[in-house]
Amino acid sequence: MSAHQEEEALGKLYDAQLTRRLLGYLRPYRARVTVAVALSLVSSGLTIVGPLLLKVTVDRYLVPALAGRLSSDVAMHGVGLVVLLFLAALCTRFTLDYIQTRMMQRVGQLAMYDLRRELFDRLQRLPLAFFDRNPLGRLVTRLTTDVDTLNDLFASGVVAMLGNCFILTAIIVAMLKLDWRLALAAFSVIPLIVLVTLLFRRSVREANRRIRVAIARINAFLQEHISGMTVVQLFNREKKARKQFAEANAAHMDAYKDAILAFALFYPAVEFLGVLAIAVLLWYGGMRVLSGSLTIGTIVAFIQYAQQFFRPIQDLSEKFNILQTAMASSERIFRLLDEPITIQSPEKPVPLGVPRGEIEFSHVWFAYTGGAQPAEEDWVLRDVSFRVRPGQTAAIVGHTGAGKTTLISLLLRFYDVQRGQILLDGRDIREYSLHDLRRHFGIVLQDPVLFSGTLESNVRMGTEGIDRPAVERALDEVGLGGFVRSLPDGVAATVGERGSTFSVGQRQLVSFARALAHNPRFLILDEATSSVDTKTELTIRAALDRLLTGRTAIVIAHRLSTIQHASQILVFHKGRLREQGTHQELLARRGIYHRLYQLQYKDQEIRVHATAGDAASAAVPAND
């Protein structure tokens, strides 16, 4: 479960650096934020008006009138004025609050938009090694759930908290001004509140951490099982899956129940302390009223203040949860943003116009793990050197796991080599910009990937200048033309996630067409026809013979028949280049290649009568 470490370590409530960085996202909108904060300050200021007006009403009008010192009519008139003032305050607050909320909510959304974009762009540039390590589901969460959590913070958190703090200060000042002794009496509960809050925070933090770990596990599990549902079902794993899931689910629930306990204790505790303050006010203040040193209006106003005072405190602790979650989210987000981009274009890339087309590997050593100094057994490629001349086709053969695909990944700079270098037209590929380098390659990966969209969008990808006829031509060249035309929508046929509504061979052909349509200088085929029938394969090969003239190509294949025309054949074994030469040369050497060849063609003895050429054309039924 080391994969969930990331969720483990985090969740500090306040971190100056983190906060500063978060606030940085508000910078582009600072004018609006300033206005919103100002408005919210004014509006918070207005909250202290209510109790004051109450005090005025009681002390100036009601008590004197009840005591008969003031006529009812005059008193009522005064009350009317107060009411009007109150109304004015209400209207102002309403307007200010509306504008302020709307502004901040919008700013929150905009900031989230920026952050999401930044994250996505980052993901487009991180090295592939990063994706080998990090479960995809978790990365998706960063862009969706985590960012949304931050939104809460930006939209309501920041301003609301400032507002709350201001309200508290305003109330404290108002109370002190009205009667400092009574104010101090009321404040006597504050230390207790601080204590309770601290205890609460401590107990909730641990639970929150467990919750995050559990959620990460649940999501990873779901993600993987939804993707691999067919396998789960084929292998009768439903019961086990249910059990495993229920465990993660239960851990989540238990952690939450612990958190609930803390909340359930905290809220009543705060309420109790609030009422305690009021009781103190009533008792001490009441005594003073009885002795004539305090007006009733002051007590009444104080009670209002005390109630107002505790609401923001309770609110703050509610926000505390948002804050903590948001901090954890932001830490994870920033960690992703800080992930080093180890593979990037150099500062001053060498421009690469139309390459001559020479590829050279020079003493290349590479390992997926182990950093710069991998352990001996980690090396996947060891001291590999070879050269492919412009316009040549090099074939790579070798046992599975020999490192063939790795070689291709290195050529495209998906990973960087640890030792040695790879040269293109005589220069280290690290001197070119990534875009310049890659755009000259057309590659068919071993695992074909199709995207949701249409067949056309899958062939074209986002490359401008590939028009529909070009798409159709490419599909024709790989022998998929007839099939595509049989679909009701032709090239506009819908492709589902991963192309699941197409047969595996069809998917492979579409990704082949994709490479061809891009008309690349270098063509890289990694087992590009492994799932395709022989006839189509032959069709493609015929097309390739034409397409390959003048291009440099690297072809990986297990079927030796597909590669024997290559200008040179490279035989890999356990990460080393063991043999190199043309088909005939290699056969003559009687090495690995010879052995592979023998195995593949030992059927040869069972001969078929007809001569090859005729039979081929005669026996094919005339359709397809």
Binding site: F94, D97, P268, I278, H399, V532, Y601, A615
Partner: protein
């Protein structure tokens, strides 16, 4: 014939999406019912807490009355005081220090009792909501586990994920805070009103003048939130599906320099999402300020009319304070009301999205299982006039079925090989054997019995399937290989790995069988993945072995070794072997050529060579290549 094939596409979603918020929320009732006891207890403590809490403003007002030297408002409240009121009244003296102390302590006593109740309430009710969340989440997985591939063709992974996480969360909010706060609101309302009416019916009436406005506002905003929120959730799901796909295909994106393009596409969706949020914000930012305003108006009325009544002598300062207190209590409910509306509306929209999964019923299940106890499967397979189209893709290929009138008998223990051009329906045929798709009734038989009459579990237990595209889990190699065999020992894993010819390679890895593979098997080579998948099928010692192009990514030497090992394994098993290579299939008991969904040739290697059809041609071509290679 399409009786079985058509309904799959029409599983409930359309109906569910139309459901009203109420209907959606009603779907939660069965879950709540499971925790009836807890819920009832929680509601009881909540009521008790509300009753006790309602005393607070009354006591406060009494204290004010005492210090302003008037009659207690309790006295004023009723001609016939109840026992509690009489008890309290017996301690009441105007302008008395003792009264002050007594009632201040009473205040603390009340809040203490109330605190205990609200502690219990929160613990119980929110606890129940977590229980239900747990149940819901398990149920979601349960449904997902039962849905057939057709469902996953229709629904993108990212979409489903979003439903199971974001939407579930919104629903949980309804069950916990949503229910608790709305009950709380009701209790406080009822209590406050009943006491306020007794203090002054007239002022109570005035206080409730703005209520219709509040109700209208809540209704209006509720609708707005519900409508917009649903769209927002859908856009969020689309957004995550987009990220998900981008990351899945990251190598292709990089290789074809599509980063910019992808970023732009993402930006568009990002913007859509933000825009629709903005639309919600416009309404939402009006909501709370408006509520606060209305509440302010209520205070204003109390101040104004309360003062008037006091001046007339039918009210007291204490009563005024008590009213203030009750309204303060009501403020929270009203704010909560706004909040709760939000929660309920969002929850209802999200529940609709969960019901899409929860009410999805698999087309493929055990409904047709024969009543008599299942025998063991021996492995005979028969296709009888099998015609099949994928649900939802009936018009492809000009309406021609993917499989067309297939008739084929595979006796138990024999090996049948299927060859044929790309897209001819081989994988579909194989998938039908494991009932991943539903064939028309009676067209696929296992041991002479229609496939639907076998319990799914037993059927699949009898099958070892190597799918054409390999999926491994991000677990250790050992766990992956032992995936479908509950009680596999290390020795079994070792043996299966040996037959699949991956053992030696794995032992070369630094962590050997404990090597954790990346998602989908990302950190293995193509051939390693395939062989791991092969070992995973072999370890089950299945009666039926299905190898769908299982050696496509394996080199010749390894393939040769595997085939030699397999010959032993397949001797007593029914084997369905799909391949493009004659060398792989030539020793099969029977070779079938599929073309555009029809069987065009069948027989053993020699028969077919003699017939001079597709197979002979294939063989020729593969020989021809070799021939050419010799030159």
């Amino acid at each position: 014939m399409s009786a079985a094939a058509t309904p799959v596409a029409a599983v409930a979603p359309a109906a569910v999406r139309k459901a009203s918020p109420i209907e959606n929320l009603r779907a939660l009732l069965p879950y709540v019912r499971r925790y009836r006891g807890g819920t009832a207890l929680g509601v009881a403590t909540l009521l008790a807490g509300g009753l006790v809490g309602a005393m607070l403003p009354l006591v406060m007002g009494t204290i004010i009355d005492s210090i302003s030297g008037e009659h207690s408002l309790i006295e004023r409240m009723s001609a016939l005081p109840g026992p509690l009121e009489r008890f309290l009244l017996s301690f009441y003296r105007p302008l008395s220090g003792e009264t002050l102390v007594f009632f201040s302590l009473t205040l603390l006593g009340i809040v203490l009792v109330k605190g205990i109740f609200s502690f219990l309430t929160r613990n119980i009710l929110i606890g129940v909501s977590r229980d239900i969340e747990y149940d819901l989440r398990n149920d979601l997985l349960d449904h997902l586990l039962r849905m057939e591939p057709a469902f996953y063709v229709r629904n993108r992974t990212g979409e489903l994920m979003s439903r199971c996480t974001n939407d579930l969360n919104a629903v949980r909010m309804v069950l916990g805070p949503g229910i608790m706060y709305s009950l709380n609101t009701i209790v406080i309302m009822v209590m406050a009103i009943s006491i306020m009416v007794r203090i002054s019916p007239q002022l109570t009436l005035y206080v409730f003048l703005p209520v219709p406005a509040v109700a209208l506002a809540v209704r209006y905003f509720g609708k707005v939130i519900h409508d917009r929120y649903e769209k927002i959730q859908a856009l969020l799901a689309a957004l995550s599906a987009r990220v998900q796909e981008n990351l899945t295909g990251i190598r292709v994106v990089r290789a074809f320099c599509q980063e910019e393009h992808e970023s732009r596409a993402f930006e568009r969706q990002n913007k859509d999402y933000v825009d629709s949020n903005m639309a919600l914000i416009a309404a939402w930012s009006l909501f709370f300020p408006a509520l606060e305003f209305l509440i302010g108006i209520v205070f204003l009325i109390v101040l104004w009319q309360g003062s008037r009544l006091t001046l007339q002598g039918s009210f007291s300062l204490g009563a005024l304070m008590a009213f203030y207190g009750y309204i303060a209590q009501l403020v929270w409910p009203k704010v909560a009301l706004g909040w709760v509306t939000n929660i309920f509306q969002r929850g209802a929209a999200s529940m609709g999205r969960l019901r899409y999964i929860l009410s999805a019923e698999p087309e493929i299940d055990d409904r047709a299982v024969a009543a008599r106890p299942a025998d063991d499967i021996h492995g005979g397979i028969e296709f009888r006039h099998l015609t099949f189209r994928h649900p939802g893709a009936e018009n492809n290929a000009g309406g021609r079925p993917v499989l067309d009138d297939i008739n084929l008998r595979i006796p138990a223990g024999s090996t049948v090989a299927v060859v044929g051009p790309t897209g001819s329906g081989k994988s579909t045929l194989a998938a039908l054997v494991a009932r991943l798709w539903e064939a028309p009734p009676g067209s696929v038989l296992i041991d002479g019995r229609p496939i639907a009459e076998w319990p799914l579990h037993a059927l699949r237990r009898a099958i070892g399937f190597v799918t054409q595209d390999t999926f491994l889990f991000s677990e250790t190699l050992r766990e992956n290989i032992a995936f479908g065999a509950e009680a596999a020992s290390d020795l079994d894993v070792d043996r299966a790995a040996h037959i699949a010819s991956i053992r030696d390679e794995v032992l070369d890895f630094p962590k050997q069988f404990e090597t954790v593979v990346g998602e989908r098997g990302l950190t293995l080579s193509g051939g390693q993945k395939q062989r791991a998948a092969l070992a995973r099928a072999l370890i089950r010692e299945p009666k039926i072995l299905v190898l769908d192009d299982a050696l496509a990514n394996v080199d010749t030497e390894t393939e040769e070794r595997i085939l030699r090992g397999l010959a032993e394994v397949t001797r007593h098993r029914t084997t369905l072997l799909i391949s493009h290579r004659c060398s792989t299939v030539r020793h099969a008991d029977q070779i079938v050529v599929l073309r555009e969904g029809r069987i065009v040739e069948s027989g053993n290697h020699e028969d077919l060579i003699g017939r001079g059809g597709y197979y002979a041609d294939l063989y020729q071509k593969q020989l021809l290549e070799e021939e050419l290679a010799r030159v």
